[in-house]
Point group: C2
Chain length 886, copies 2
C-alpha cells in the first residue's frame, strides 16, 4: 500500500507525456496537448496508482483518495465557473478510462455525469428542452449499464416500447416531452434492477463511476484482450474526469475521429469521419454511419481548418501518426484524445519510411514504430488474383489481408472451433468488446454495420486480421444461423472468403497466394540489418529452399536436414535395404547406393549458398520412421494369415520378415530413442557415408566455381564422449576424401544442443565442438517433458486455455525453463571454449519474443524457415534496440 | 611433464604407508614393514609418478629416470654386497608392479632377473647346479613371456618335448644337465619369436622389465578390471625392484600366502596355504595345490612361529585384516607383501564388529572397512535349504552365495550372453586374468582347479560372486563344450546351481531364498544409523511392503504409488469405466466405485507405518496403460471383421468402441504425454477422489489408534502454476472431508521434481511446495533424453560396452548431467523456501554412489525399495564419513 501522502490526482494542466505510466495514455496526451495550446476540455486525472492501490486493497479506496477527488473537483469548478449538481450553472463531466497501453473499447466510459432533476432545468434553459432531456436519458442509460449493472436491453426495450407507442421509427422523432417521460421510465427500470433508488447526488455518482472504471480493468474481456496483446495485468487504469463538450447541440456541432495519415495504406492524406449533431460514442459504436472528414470543410469550415492544423502539430510533436477524437461544440473545436494510431502492417512500413524521409524520425525510431508481428502480416497470404470469381458483395476494406474459413455466427463458437484448429470466419452484425475471444482465433471478421473506425475494424487491424466491415447488403439471422447475401444463403460451417484489402466477400473458399513484399518493407528490413548484431540464417533442405532463403536475405543455412533426402520415393528402397541389412557389408553396399543421391542434393544447396555457411545436420530420426507402421504391418500379416496363405507364400514371408524388423525397431518413446548420434555410433557407416557425400559435393561445387562453406552438425548429443567419437569418424572420412582428391578444405564440426544434459554439461561438450546450435524444439520436448505430437491436441491446449502456461512453448520459447537451459548451455559452452559460435535452429529462431531472449543471451545467429527470415532480421534489430532501452 | 628434478626412486627404507599414492600399495607396505622391523628383502621402488609421466610422454621415459634407477641400484648393490650381472657375487631381483589400489593378478611380475650366462656359474656354486639352471630357465620363460611377448606355450611346448624325450612326467625329474640344455632351447625359442638375440645384459633386462610393468597398466584386461572396480585409469603403477629370496632352495625353503583372519567367515583363526620348495607364483597361479598353513608348524617351526607373531603385529599396526605373501629361504622368513585382505561380505562384517569389540577400531573405522556393495552381497539370495536335492559334486567354498544359470565354457560367450541379460555360470578349468570380462557378468564361477587363493576365488570374492573352486572331480572339455560330473554330462546352455557358501554344485536349477541378516550386519547398520545425516525411507505400495520396509529400518515411505492399486484385477473394470466415461458425471460415478478400494489400501499402509511419514503420490501413468494395447485391439477388430461378423454384432461393436478409445489415448511418446499432474488437471475428479480416499483412510487409521503422517505428492510438475492449482484442488477436498468428519489433521503437499524444467524453475515451484522428491528415474529419461524401455536393450548397452558412458545412468546417477539438475533444483528450491524438505525416490535412492552425491547436495532423505533400505542406511553413513575425509 502506498501511504496517505501519495498524490493521486493531477489537474490536466499539471501533467505531460512522460507521466504516461501514472496518468495513462489518454491523460498524459491530454496534458501534453494543453502544453501545446491545443483546445482540450478542462478536468483532472485519477492516477493508475490509485487504481492499483485499490485493486491491491481488495477494492477499497485508499483512505484519502475521495478527499483528493473532491479537492480537485473544487479547483476544476472554480476554473470553469460551473459546479457539479448546481441548479444554476451545472457542470457536466465525462468519466473515462485511460490505460497506459491503449485497449480500444475494452474499458468503461460514462458521459454526461452531473445531469439530474436539479440541473436538467437550467440545461434546458441554456440549450433547449429536447437536448436536456435527451442528455438526461442518455446519462441514466449509460450510468445504469456501466456503473450499476442494469442490463442494457432493459433500457432499449423501454425506448423501443415508447417509440412503438408514439408510432415513430427513430430516436430524433421523439419529442422533449416523450424524453422527459422516458427519464422517469428509465429511473423506474433502474430501480427495479438495482433494488434501490437511482442515485441522484452527482458526487455519489462520480464516486461510483470512478470506481466502475477501476473495476472495468478486471473484467474477463479486458483480461482476454490484455493476454492477446501481451499487456501486463498489474498496470491498472487511470480515470479522466473532463468537462463535457457536446457534439449534439445542433447543426453547428459535430463529433468525429481522424488519423493524421491513412492507417490502412499509410498514405499522407486526410483520413477520418464525423457525424453532425452527435456524441462521440455514436461514431465509435458504429450505430450511425459517419461521413468522410473532407465533407466537414463545407459545413464547419473554421473548425475544420483548426483541426487540420492541430493534426499536423500533434503528429510532428509525437513523431508518429496520431489517432484523434474531437468534438465541435457550437462551432468550437475541442480535442478529446490523441494517441499513436493503430495501423495496418503496410501502413506501418510506409509511415515509418516516409517519416524518416520527411526528417521526422531516425532509422532506429522507425524500427521502433513497427511491431515484429506486423511483418508477419505482410507475409500473410492474399487472395490469388487469377481466381476469376465474382464477389457476392462488398463492404469496407477495414483491415487488409485475405481470410478463408467456415462461417460462424457467435464469438463463443468461433473461440471453440478456432482453438480446436478449425479455420473460421466470424460473421456479426457488429462486434462488441465481448466478442474479443472469438476475434482472436478467427481467420477474419465480417460485419454488416459500422465504419472504418468501428470496434471490429480497430480490433482487427490491431491484430492483423482481415476484416470487411459495414457490408450493409448482407442479412444475418443469428438465431437461425444464416447469412443471406443476395440469392445465396450461407449456413454455419459453409465456406467464405474475405478480402480485407478490397472489402470483397466470396461465398466460397478461394486459393491464397503469398504477398509481394514492397519497397517500404525492403527498406525497413535493410535498416534492421544495419542495427542488428545476430546473423540470420535459414533452415533449408533443398537447393530451391536455399535459393528462396537467400532471396529473403538469409546469411547462410543454419539447419540442412538430411533425413528428408532419405524419405524421397526414389531413395526409400535403398534406405530400407540399409535398415534391413543383416551385415555391415550389406549395409555399406546399400549406403553406397544412397551416397551419390545425397551428394547431388548437397551440391545444389552448396551452389545456391555459395560464399555463405551451410550447416548440414547428419541423420537424426530413428530407423523405424523409414519402415511401415507397426499396426499396419501387423494387420497385413494377420490378414494374409486369415486368408489362408500357406507357409511358403512369398508375400506372407516377406510381410512377416518386415514385421519382425518393424517390431525390433519400434520404440515406446521414439523421441527418446535410438536416433541421431546414437544411431550413428551404432552404425558408423552411416555418418561416414554422409560425410563422404558432403565432402565430395563440396569439392564438386568448388570445381564449378562455387565457394562452399560447409559445417557438419551432429544431432542429439548428450555426452561429450559421443561428440568426441563422432568427430573422429567425421574427420577421418574427411581426411580420406581430401587426400584422395588432393584437395584441402575446412569442415568445422559442431553439435545440436537439444537435450537438457547437453546444456548442463556444455562445458565438456564444447571442448569437442566448433559450434553449438540450440535445437529448441527438442529441448522444449525434453526440458518440459512434452511430446509435441501428442500434447498440442491434448493437455497443452487445455493448459493454454486455462492459462496454466503463458502460451504455447513451441511458439514462443518458454523463457524461464527452456530459455534457462539455453542460458546455462551458452554460458557453460563459452566457459571452456571462449569463441564458440552459438546459434539457434528450430521454429523459435523465427519468433520475435524468442529472438529477444537469444539477443539477451548473446547468441551469434538464429536460423528459421525461409519465409520468416525477414521477420527474424527485423526482430533481431528490435531486440538490440529494446536491449539498449533496458 | 614433471621436471627433471623429480625424485622417481625411493629405497624401501625411505618410504612409509602415507606414501601409498606415490609408492603403490605394495611398496608403501614394504617400507612400513621395514619401519616395524619385519624381515623384508632389500630393494627400491620406482614411483607411480614415473609410470604416469611415461604414459603421458607416449611411452618415453623421463630424461633422468634411468639415471636414478642406476643410482638406486648402486646403493642397493652396496647394501647387499652383491651386484647385478656380477660373475662372482650376482644379485638376483624381482621386478613387480605395485598399484595404489590392489589389482590381484592383473599386473605383471618378473622374477629372478640377474641370472645370465655370466652369473649362473656362481649361483650353481652357491646353491647347486640344478637350482641354478632351473632358476635360469624360469627366468627366460617369465621374462620372454612378460617383457618380450614370446607366447607362453612356446616355452611350455619345448619343456613338454624335453620331458617326453627324457621319458619323465614332472619338472623335478629333469636333471641339471637337462635344464642347462633347456636354457639353450629357451634362448632359441625366444630368438625365433623376438627376431633378435635374447638380451644378456641384466641392466638392459631390468630397464625393459620396468618398462613392461609400466605398460601392463594399460592392457585391456587391466582396463576391464579397473572399470569393474571403479579404479581411475590415470593412477599408474609403481614398480618394486627387490632382492630375490628363494622358496625353492630345497626342503628348508617354502613359499605361502596367509590371512590374519578367515577371509570367508571373518573368524579370528589361522588361514593360509604354503608350498615347500616352491616359488610364490606356484601358489597364486593354482598350478600345484598347496597345504594348509597349520601344517607348516611341523616342518618349519621357527619360521612358522615368527610368521604368526608378524601376522599379529601387521594386523594391529594396519587396523585391518592382512593378506600376506611370505617366503622361507633356507629356514629364514621374509615377508614379500602385506595388504588389507579382500574378504567376503559376512567376513567383512564380522571382522569389523570384532575389531571394534577388540578395541582395535572405532565405529567410523569399522564402517570404512566395509564397502556398500558388501551389504548387497549379504542381501543376495541363497539356495532354498528345503530343496532336498543332492549335490552332484563338491569343491572349495571359494566365494559365498548362490548362483543359478546356464553353463558356458568361455569368458567371451559368458560376456556376450550375460550382457544380453541371460543368467550364465562360467565353468573353467581355472580362470586367468583374461577371463575377467566373463566373470563380471556371470552369476557365478565354477573351476576344476586351484585353491581358495587362486585367481578365480580372489576375483569372485572381490565382486561378491558365488564361486566354487577346485572341484577336482569335474571334467571339462572346452572344445566339445561339455562338463562331466560323474554320470551326468552338461552341455552349454544346461542349467546349473552353485552354492559358494558350501562348495556344493547341483546339475539343475534350484530355487533361491533371501538370506537371514545376522547380528554383525545389524550391528554395523545400527552404527551407520548413529553416523548418517540423511533419513532413509522406502518405496512401498501395500501394507505388506510397508511392514517389510519398517522391518528393514525404513523411517517412512518416500513413495507410495497409487497406480498399482488401479491395476489390480478387481479394480480394473471400474478404472476402465472411468476412462471410457463420456461425461464428468459418469466419470465421477466410476471414481466413486474406486474410492473405497483405494481407501482400504491406504489404511493398511498408514497402520503399518504408524508414527512415520508416508508420501502418497497421486496417479502418475497415462490412461492408456489401463486399456488393451493398440496393436492387439486393432488385430481383434480386423479378425472379427474378417470373420464376417455383421454390423450389429455386439462383440464387434464393443471391440470397435474400445479400439476408438485406445486410438484416442495412445500417444507417440507416452513418457512425455498426458499423465501425472496433466491428467489430474484435465480430470480434477481423479485427484479429488484420491485425496478423499487418503483423508478418509487417515481418519479411519487414527480412529483405530494409529498415528498417520501423510504427505501428498503431485507427479510430473513442470510449471509452478500446475502445482498451485493442484494444491487448491487437494486442499479444498481435504477441508471438505475434515469438516464433514469434524476432525483436524495436517497433510503437507509437495511435488516430484522429475522434469528438467522443474529443476530449472524450482525456485518458482518451491513457493507452492512443502517438499520436493527428486524422481531421478524420469529425470534421467528426460534430462539425458533416453527412454528406459527402449534404450537398455538398444544403444545404451552399446554405450556401456564401448565406454561412451561411464555406466548405466539408471543404475548410478549420471553425476554431471542428471546430478547437475538435482543440484540446480535443490539450490533453487531452497532459495525461495529455505526449510523445504528434499528427498529422492526412485532406484538411485538405494545406490551407494548416488547416495554419496545426495549427501553432498544436502538432501534430507533418500527412498528406495525395502530390500535396499539397509544398504541405503549404511551408504548414507559412509557418505558422511567420505565427506569428512574430503
Amino acid at each position: 500500500m502506498t501511504s496517505g501522502t501519495t498524490k493521486y490526482i493531477y489537474d490536466l494542466s499539471e501533467g505531460d507525456l512522460s507521466m504516461k505510466p501514472l496518468l495513462g495514455g489518454k491523460g498524459a496526451n491530454l496534458s501534453e496537448m494543453i502544453k501545446l495550446g491545443v483546445p482540450v476540455p478542462d478536468g483532472f486525472t485519477v492516477t493508475t496508482e490509485a487504481c492499483v492501490d485499490t485493486m491491491n486493497n481488495g477494492g477499497e479506496w485508499p483512505a484519502d483518495l475521495w478527499g483528493q477527488v473532491t479537492d480537485a473537483l473544487a479547483r476544476f469548478e472554480e476554473r470553469v465557473d460551473r459546479r457539479l449538481g448546481d441548479a444554476e450553472k451545472p457542470l457536466l463531466v465525462s468519466v473515462r478510462s485511460g490505460a497506459v497501453i491503449s485497449m480500444p473499447g475494452m474499458m468503461d466510459t460514462i458521459l454526461n455525469l452531473g445531469i439530474s432533476d436539479e440541473t436538467v432545468g437550467s440545461l434546458a434553459a441554456e440549450f433547449g428542452e429536447r437536448f436536456a432531456w435527451d442528455t438526461y436519458r442518455r446519462f441514466i442509460q449509460m450510468y445504469g449499464d456501466v456503473v450499476e449493472g442494469v442490463p442494457h436491453h432493459a433500457y432499449e426495450d423501454a425506448l423501443t416500447a415508447l417509440k412503438a407507442e408514439r408510432g415513430v421509427e427513430n430516436d430524433p422523432d421523439l419529442t422533449a416531452e416523450d424524453l422527459k417521460g422516458l427519464v422517469e421510465t428509465f429511473k423506474q427500470v433502474s430501480r427495479e434492477h438495482m433494488g434501490e433508488e437511482f442515485p441522484t447526488d452527482p458526487k455519489e455518482q462520480l464516486k461510483r463511476a470512478v470506481n466502475a472504471v477501476f473495476a472495468s480493468w478486471d473484467t474477463p474481456r479486458a483480461g482476454i484482450y490484455r493476454k492477446s496483446q501481451g499487456i501486463p495485468d498489474d498496470l491498472g487504469t487511470a480515470v479522466n474526469v473532463m468537462q463535457m463538450v457536446f457534439g449534439n447541440r445542433g447543426e453547428t456541432s459535430a463529433t468525429g475521429v481522424c488519423f493524421t495519415r491513412n492507417p490502412s495504406t499509410g498514405a499522407k492524406e486526410l483520413y477520418g469521419e464525423f457525424l453532425l449533431n452527435a456524441q462521440g460514442e455514436d461514431v465509435v459504436a458504429g450505430i450511425r454511419t459517419p461521413k468522410p472528414l473532407a465533407e466537414m470543410e463545407s459545413v464547419l469550415p473554421e473548425a475544420y481548418a483548426q483541426l487540420l492544423d492541430t493534426m499536423n502539430r500533434l503528429e510532428e510533436h509525437n513523431g508518429d501518426m496520431q489517432d484523434i477524437e474531437f468534438t465541435v461544440e457550437d462551432g468550437k473545436l475541442f480535442l478529446l484524445q490523441t494517441r499513436n494510431g493503430k495501423r495496418t502492417a503496410p501502413a506501418a512500413f510506409k509511415i515509418a519510411v516516409d517519416m524518416v524521409t520527411e526528417g521526422k524520425l531516425d532509422k532506429a525510431g522507425a524500427l521502433k514504430r513497427i511491431e515484429p508481428a506486423q511483418l508477419d502480416q505482410l507475409l500473410h497470404p492474399a487472395i490469388d488474383l487469377s481466381h476469376g470469381k465474382t464477389p457476392v458483395t462488398k463492404g469496407l476494406n477495414a483491415s487488409p489481408g485475405a481470410a478463408v474459413g467456415e462461417v460462424v455466427f457467435d464469438a463463443e463458437t468461433a473461440a471453440e472451433r478456432g482453438k480446436a484448429g478449425d479455420r473460421v470466419v466470424l460473421v456479426r452484425w457488429e462486434t462488441t468488446p465481448d466478442d474479443i475471444a472469438g476475434v482472436i482465433v478467427a481467420q477474419g471478421v465480417l460485419t454488416a454495420h459500422g465504419g472504418m473506425t468501428s470496434h471490429a475494424a480497430v480490433v482487427a487491424r490491431g491484430m492483423g486480421k482481415p476484416c470487411v466491415a459495414g457490408a450493409s447488403k448482407i442479412k444475418i439471422d443469428a438465431e437461425a444461423k444464416t447469412l443471406t447475401i443476395g440469392e445465396s444463403v450461407l449456413r454455419e460451417g459453409d465456406m467464405i472468403t474475405l478480402d480485407g484489402t478490397t472489402g470483397e466477400v466470396y461465398a466460397e473458399a478461394l486459393d491464397l497466394v503469398p504477398p509481394q513484399l514492397n519497397d517500404d518493407f525492403q527498406t525497413i528490413v535493410g535498416w534492421a540489418d544495419e542495427i542488428r548484431r545476430m546473423d540470420v540464417r535459414a533452415n533449408a533442405d533443398t537447393g530451391a529452399d536455399a535459393a528462396k532463403a537467400r532471396e529473403f536475405g538469409a546469411q547462410g543455412i543454419g539447419l540442412c536436414r538430411t533425413e528428408h533426402m532419405f524419405m524421397e520415393a526414389d531413395r526409400l528402397p535403398a534406405v530400407r535395404k540399409m535398415i534391413l541389412a543383416e551385415s555391415d557389408e550389406a549395409r555399406t553396399q546399400a549406403l553406397a547406393e544412397i551416397l551419390p543421391l545425397q551428394q547431388e542434393d548437397f551440391e545444389a544447396i552448396f551452389d545456391a549458398m555459395t560464399g555463405l555457411p551451410v550447416t548440414v545436420r547428419l541423420l537424426d530420426p530413428p530407423m523405424h520412421e523409414f519402415l511401415p507402421n507397426l499396426v499396419d504391418q501387423s494387420l497385413l500379416v494377420q490378414r494374409l494369415e486369415l486368408e489362408g496363405r500357406g507357409e511358403d507364400d512369398a508375400e506372407l514371408a516377406e510381410a512377416r520378415t518386415l514385421l519382425a524388423q518393424v517390431k525390433k525397431l519400434t520404440e515406446q518413446n521414439p523421441m527418446l530413442g535410438t536416433r541421431g548420434v546414437r544411431l550413428a555410433l551404432l552404425y558408423p557407416e552411416i555418418p561416414a557415408m554422409q560425410t563422404r557425400a558432403i565432402v565430395r559435393a563440396a569439392l564438386a561445387s568448388k570445381a564449378r566455381g562455387s565457394e562452399p562453406q560447409v559445417e557438419i552438425m551432429v544431432p542429439l548429443v548428450a555426452f561429450a564422449e559421443e561428440l568426441k567419437r563422432m568427430r573422429a569418424i567425421i574427420e577421418e572420412t574427411i581426411a580420406e576424401e581430401l587426400q584422395a582428391a588432393g584437395e584441402s578444405m575446412d569442415f568445422p564440426v559442431g553439435t545440436m544442443i537439444e537435450l537438457p544434459r547437453a546444456a548442463v554439461t556444455a562445458d565438456q561438450i564444447a571442448e569437442h565442438a566448433d559450434f553449438f546450435s540450440f535445437g529448441t524444439n527438442d529441448l522444449t520436448q525434453t526440458g518440459v517433458g512434452i511430446s509435441r505430437d501428442d500434447a498440442e491436441g491434448a493437455f497443452l491446449a487445455h493448459y493454454i486455455d486455462e492459462e496454466i502456461v503463458e502460451g504455447n512453448p513451441f511458439g514462443s520459447i518458454d523463457r524461464d525453463g527452456v530459455g534457462g537451459l539455453v542460458g546455462i548451455g551458452a554460458e557453460k559452452g563459452r566457459s571452456t571454449h571462449a569463441d564458440l559460435k552459438l546459434g539457434v535452429c528450430g521454429e523459435h529462431g523465427g519468433d520475435p519474443a524468442s529472438i529477444s531472449l537469444f539477443e539477451e543471451l548473446g547468441l551469434n545467429y538464429v536460423s528459421c524457415s525461409p519465409y520468416r527470415v525477414p521477420i527474424a532480421r527485423f526482430a533481431a534489430a528490435r531486440a538490440v534496440l529494446d536491449a539498449q532501452e533496458g
